[in-house]
Homo-oligomer: 387 residues x 2
């Protein structure tokens, strides 16, 4: 048994570290594919990237999507997930899936929400039903989802918070992480995805010392990877960088690090430079639905102005022959480009003006394409020593 | 010149007529492809089939889409259409386009609407602006759209109507058809699509004698094809059949006949059996957006129950492993099937339950696929003498 474990390749293989920053190139092996790091995860909260099918995600070239334990728990529910064989089967998605634990969603709910040592009591945002999420249940749901990369249930503290509030939240986060790990391994048998991995979530607000204590405690328990949670909640971008600067060095070199939450393209570059390997963000699809498109302006990702956002509904794009698709060079062609390069900004603007959902869809396809291309450029930049 | 005309193939070539009904097999040649008749046109009223791109329409295997003069006139407008090179360029659509004249839309508008010999005055449904549509302007707009198959501006009478009302509407429809034809040929020069064809629209309500008078008058003027308008407005299906039964024999054998307006699958079969070559219908996409799916039950299209409609949101499809896609046999494979055959009814139901637009899109792709497959079966049935 020990011998077998010894010859298994490590789940995360660090390939190189930049000499110019803490940026890292690696590969994360999951039961549904090898993911080149750093990577970005399109968000499929409720089992679909908005307006985009799993067929489309493949065309876009993303090897992973992110979904949400809380949302899938409510609908379709654990029983239906178990019956159909998990989320991979439900979506017919052959790539990897990471599931957020739902802690953030539960703590964000308005109204009744009560924290106990056992777990968190709350009311469903759909029908007001009283529910309780515990670390153990959270693992059971993620096993039913068949997620490749599971997240522990964490305690999210509303910022600003006092040192005392942060401390008691941290204590509980650590205790829940330990329980999550035990429950995760206890539910491995008979799950759809026995090779799944479990990530812990470092909390501690914008207090670097707290973050370090949280990281140390979680590393001592030992997880397959570590996420930085509780950021991107309105704090200045520089504070998130300061937190990362103080936290990532405390995390094991040989394991993947995941920055949770929204990030504009230049923020993604900064987080990767702080040693982040995985990111997700709702902005490419959400902004797309409001007619906002991302475009590269030049190749130097270390300069803040390497990209622009274009409001396609703007009058200046009336009848524009400029393409929605932007040529990203011969190394960066994906199957979806055949479709994207056909449409002009003038057409996309027209679709938004006449309320055709197709406009949202084309913009979403493009923005996800942009974020994935950004990650490809970042990976190449790390390899070439420019990041 | 006469010689050149003589060796040009006819735009419409009738290949065979059924011995069991008036159903016809033919081929209609347009500047953007040869269309096998009878055919169905997916509706792209405002320049997009709802949730579906021109890339998708190609994958679905439709050689034509239908758009609307009135809607495109308002947005993006004639100037923008001219600037971009017409609707084919705007949508990047390489197949054929038929445009309805917008008469039906204008006459359907609530509020101020005044009919004169010159044209019809009305208020825009967008901003209330006072506008006037004349036969001449209608042709100019369709030339700017670059439509392959243009429709004359007709007078749509609200049913029920008195004989006098129908008569005066018919008189005007005929006069406008003549003016439309003159204007259409006058604007051929410099248009995006000089090889476009013009169809007249037979009116007359559910009065067969009126319909015959309308048809005779229009045939005397002479058009490239003839549409039957003003039906599918709430009258019983049998009345529409009676109208067709009395009208199609008055139309030239050698020219295509287009039934305008919505039709359920069994109605399409009946209309084709009355000698109809072209149809459109908003039902496949509209019903899809309400979670209603069409499915074949058996192969005998002459039996009313050859299809069923499935409400995918129904509880019985919770976790259903049944496929959205239905195997239509080896002769009927389209590029879109690769995508459609991946998803289960259980997944589509889940998407509707959690308000993911992707559900509407997958259902729309499927229903259009169904209607196109129905037409393929009808064409085969006519060839084999079963229709």
């Amino acid at each position: 048994m020990l011998l077998i474990l010894a010859i298994l390749p490590p789940m995360f293989a660090l390939q190189s570290t930049s000499t110019r920053s803490r940026a890292r190139r690696g590969a994360l092996t999951t039961p549904h594919g090898v993911l080149q790091t750093p990577f970005f995860m399109p968000i499929a909260t409720k089992g679909a990237v908005k307006t985009i099918s799993s067929f489309d995600v493949e065309r876009l070239g993303s090897p992973i999507v992110l979904s949400n334990t809380y949302h899938l728990w409510l609908r379709p529910g654990v029983e239906e997930l178990k019956n159909v064989g998990g989320l991979h089967a439900l979506m017919d998605w052959h790539g990897a899936i990471l599931t957020d634990s739902g802690g953030f969603q539960v703590f964000s709910l308005e109204g009744l929400r009560k924290l106990t040592l056992e777990g968190v009591k709350f009311q469903s945002h759909i029908d007001g039903a009283k529910m309780m999420l515990t670390p153990e249940l959270c693992m059971e749901i993620q096993r039913a989802i068949g997620s490749d990369l599971c997240m522990v249930l964490d305690v999210c503290t509303k910022l600003p918070a006092t040192k005392e509030e942060l401390e008691s939240a941290l204590e509980l986060t650590t205790a829940w992480a330990r329980r999550s790990k035990e429950a995760f391994h206890a539910t491995r048998e008979g799950s759809f995805n026995p090779g799944a991995q479990l990530f812990a979530i470092v909390q501690g607000g914008t207090d670097v010392e707290m973050r370090q204590r949280s990281a140390d405690a979680l590393v001592e328990i030992g997880f397959d990877g570590y996420a930085i949670g509780g950021l991107s909640v309105g704090e200045p971008f520089e504070e998130a960088c300061t937190v990362l600067e103080g936290t990532t060095p405390r995390l094991p070199e040989a394991q993947p690090r995941y920055f949770m939450g929204g990030a504009q393209p230049h923020e993604i570059v900064a987080y990767v430079q702080q040693g982040i390997d995985m990111l997700d963000c709702v902005l490419p699809t959400r902004n797309a639905r409001h007619g906002q498109l991302y475009r590269f302006r030049h190749d130097d990702l270390t300069k803040r102005d390497f990209y622009e956002t274009v409001h396609v509904t703007n009058e200046r794009f009336a009848g524009s022959q400029e393409r929605l698709f932007q040529d990203l060079g011969p190394d960066d062609v994906e199957a979806v480009d055949d479709e994207l390069r056909r449409y002009t900004l003038g057409y996309v603007r027209h679709l938004f003006r006449v309320d055709e959902m197709l406009g949202m869809r084309l913009a979403s396809l493009w923005n996800v394409r942009f974020y994935l291309a950004l990650m490809k450029r970042l990976r190449k930049g790390i390899e070439q020593g420019t990041i």
